[in-house]
């Protein structure tokens, strides 16, 4: 099946087959990362603009790195230095970027839905690098990619997402990807941050950490933001940690082979014990590395590349049997 999308806006709209195509393409690109010459010429001559209107470290660097590994030229623009601070509208900013002959735009924005809005204005591909509390599709793709590397097929695997779900785009993208991949997903956190509405998306909601963690094979922690406390969504960081922080005792409730994930940035000592973050079950830094390969795959495919051109035959076979 050929890849047909030009934009990557959400994981909600992707099919299972499309998610697996991206993963298979990422496997191929991940191999190139360990070669002595780590660059491939796939996007030579193309210019990608990273328009980051909200702060980001990991995602922005990973997109930057991914584009350079593909031999694309990259221009990065952040909120503070762009004309949006002078009151320029997003439409005008984006149309100018297109007029400057960019071939693709990667956008991070505080307002949910803005990548969709851009995709309707521009003729060039738009990649969502996080829009408000809506989606962060490449994060969901790299997280599920990392889980598959460690666990194989995710069908019926027990995955717990723990923390501030309500305001998390990472949680939403993971929910859409994981449910399509057949995982058994439970969201855990204080009732104010994990409303029951999420059950409509085919996942469970729990406020009891012990039963939720029991025999889970993946626990994904989300950053707890101080602002939420100011808005009275929970009493204090201390109380959060005492109720929901992942520590050694609680980690012992997990499946012995379970992996611990976090999209970063981490609040050590709040949502996770420092020791666990650095422990052998933690795959937090693998997630970051995989983020390059997955974003290479996304940029490559949305620029018009096809999986068959890069995926090795044995990977393609494995992909077919994993379904």
């Amino acid at each position: 099946m050929p890849w047909t999308r030009r934009h990557l806006l959400t994981l909600e709209e992707l099919s299972l087959a499309e998610i697996e195509q991206i993963h298979a393409t990422a496997v191929a690109f991940k191999r190139t990362l360990t070669r002595s010459v780590r660059k491939v010429p796939a996007l030579r001559g193309k210019t990608i603009v990273n328009l980051f209107l909200e702060p980001s470290t990991r995602t922005r660097m990973a997109f930057d790195m991914a584009a350079k590994r593909l031999s694309a030229d990259v221009i990065s623009l952040d909120g503070a230095s762009s004309s949006t601070t002078k009151g320029e509208t997003l439409r005008d900013t984006a149309e100018n970027i297109e007029a400057l002959q960019a071939d693709m735009i990667v956008i991070r924005h505080a307002a949910a839905g803005s990548p969709l809005y851009l995709s309707r204005i521009l003729d060039i591909p738009v990649i969502n690098a996080g829009d408000g509390a809506h989606e962060h599709p490449t994060q969901g793709l790299l997280d599920t990619f990392t889980m598959k590397e460690r666990l194989g097929s995710l069908r019926k695997r027990k995955v717990v997402i723990l923390g501030d779900i309500l305001f998390s785009r990472v949680a939403r993208s993971n929910i859409h990807a994981l449910t399509k991949l057949g995982a058994d997903v439970t969201l855990v956190g204080p009732s104010t941050l994990v409303p029951a509405w999420f059950t409509e998306f085919g996942v469970k909601v729990s406020h009891d950490l012990k039963s939720a963690l029991a025999d889970a094979e993946v626990v994904m922690l989300l950053r707890i933001q101080h602002e939420r406390q100011a808005a009275s969504l929970f009493p204090s960081l201390g109380e959060y940690t005492s109720m929901f922080g992942l520590n050694k005792t609680r980690a012992s409730w997990l499946n012995p082979k379970a992996i611990i994930m976090h999209p970063g940035p981490i609040n050590r000592g709040v949502e996770i014990d420092s020791e666990l973050a650095d422990g052998e079950r933690s795959v937090i830094l693998e997630q970051v590395t995989n983020g390059i390969a997955v974003r290479m795959a996304v940029l490559y495919l949305c620029a018009g590349g096809q999986p068959e051109a890069v995926v090795a035959p044995e990977d393609a076979r494995q992909l077919a049997t994993s379904r």
Partner: protein, 431 residues
């Protein structure tokens, strides 16, 4: 002044319980029982075959943006949009720039209306100084200057004590207080209804409880003080229930529903289209059904549009940053006919009543009837004509309508204000 003879129309006059095919006569700006035969020959005649002639529609909730935001709408363009929609009387909200919290601004508005408006445009004043919710505006002076109600529409008065004093004070002048029911502490940053859909879209939710709390507050204050409080644009099913029970006890509480809350739900937001962003937000199907039931049993008193013009470039933004509100005047009649008459089997005269006599009565305005001797404010419409609405070609200065480009059924053919035909067959007759 010339006379007018509308022939063989279905005349609906809810005040007189009249619904019959017949002729309607106007002489010297007033409705008359008949014309002398000599004058009949000279009268301008309108063939009303297949058309409905009813009192001119009355909308007690519009934003005409003048003074101060005339890039969105002016009293002249808003009044033209009203005429095109069959409205002969509209009541404009005071959240202009500056806000209408003093007699001078009211006089300015009245002067512009007298100069520019093709329909009757009546002002409201603010409840509080600067619409800031902190101190009472000079309500007595506003009344003397000619406001027909006071409201801080768009900015609900948060202090219960200030609201209590406002309604108590306004009662002395028999001046209704209209309230946009929204508890701000529960709606910080909110841009759509709170629930599954907001969870899916990652947008901040505006829970219906934030409306229900203020509606309940207003019921309690209306009963405590004996004053009349009108709840604007009700959107929540629980609010409908609160009002229903208050009315059973005899509270002086009234309420309105907008055509958009009757016709649309939050499902329309799936693509973050800012033409569906308004305050209060579109809610669920259960809420929509409750509003229709509320209109059916009289819990909700009237239809009002909340006509809220914004320019294309203001609406063309990220969903979070776009302003709230949509146009309403030019689509209100066909949309309401569609939802209430065609989909929900309301009787046409009842719907006409919801848009004419009742809103006029609610604020104690003239109009809303076709009784002999009253000012001839008339709407003549074809209930069945289907037409394509293009907001860009409409009469409002703005075009922010979710119905633009759609086929609507029911079309206004003539609008008569004080005996003068101000709108006919798609054209405004300027003064």
């Amino acid at each position: 002044m010339s006379s007018l003879w509308i022939k063989r129309a279905r005349i609906i006059d809810p005040a007189a319980r009249r619904d019959e095919v017949g002729d309607l006569f106007v002489r010297d700006g007033r409705v008359v029982a008949s014309l002398p035969s000599a004058e009949k020959k000279r009268a301008r005649s309108i063939d009303g075959t297949g058309l409905v002639a009813c009192p001119g529609l009355v909308d007690i909730h519009v934003h005409f943006r003048e003074p101060g935001q005339t890039h969105k709408e002016t009293i002249a363009t808003g009044a033209r949009a009203a005429a095109a929609g069959g409205f002969t009387t509209v009541v404009c909200m005071p959240n202009t720039s500056p806000v209408a919290d003093n007699a001078g601004t009211i006089q300015l508005i009245k002067d512009v209306v007298a100069r520019d408006a093709v329909v009757r445009v009546l002002p409201t004043g603010c409840i509080t100084v600067g619409m800031k919710g902190q101190a009472l505006a000079p309500i007595g002076s506003l009344k003397r200057a000619g406001v027909v109600a006071i409201t801080d529409d768009g900015d609900c008065v948060q202090s219960n004590d200030l609201m209590r004093r406002a309604v108590e004070y306004a009662k002395m002048f028999d001046l209704p207080v209209m309230d946009h029911c929204q508890d701000h502490s529960m709606t910080q940053g909110a841009v759509m209804n709170e629930g599954v859909m907001s969870t899916r879209l990652g947008l901040r939710g505006w829970p219906n409880a934030a409306e229900d709390l203020i509606v309940a507050r207003n019921v309690i204050l209306a009963e405590y003080t004996g004053a009349h409080i009108h709840c604007q644009h009700i959107s929540s099913r629980f609010s409908v229930d609160v009002i229903r029970r208050a009315k059973q006890r005899g509270a002086r509480i009234t309420a309105e529903a907008t055509p958009h809350h009757l016709a649309l739900t939050e499902e329309a937001l799936a693509t973050y289209d800012t033409h569906f962003k308004m305050n209060p937000p579109l809610r669920t199907e259960a809420d929509r059904r409750a509003l229709i039931d509320g209109l059916r049993d009289g819990t909700l008193d009237i239809i009002a549009t909340d006509h809220a013009p914004h320019t294309d470039y203001e609406k063309d933004k990220e969903f979070d940053y776009a302003p709230n509100g949509i146009l309403g005047l030019e689509t209100a009649l066909p949309v309401t006919l569609d939802v209430l008459v065609r989909q929900n089997r309301f009787k046409l005269p009842y719907v006409v009543d919801l848009m004419t006599r009742r809103p006029a009565q609610l604020l104690g305005l003239a109009g809303g009837t076709l009784a002999a001797g009253v000012d001839a404010d008339i709407c003549v419409f074809d209930p069945d004509e289907t037409w394509r609405y293009d907001a860009k070609c409409g009469f409002s200065k703005s075009s922010n309508s979710p119905w633009s480009g759609q086929d609507l059924r029911g079309r206004v053919k003539y609008t008569v204000v004080g005996g003068r035909v101000v709108f006919e067959n798609g054209r405004i007759n300027e003064r």
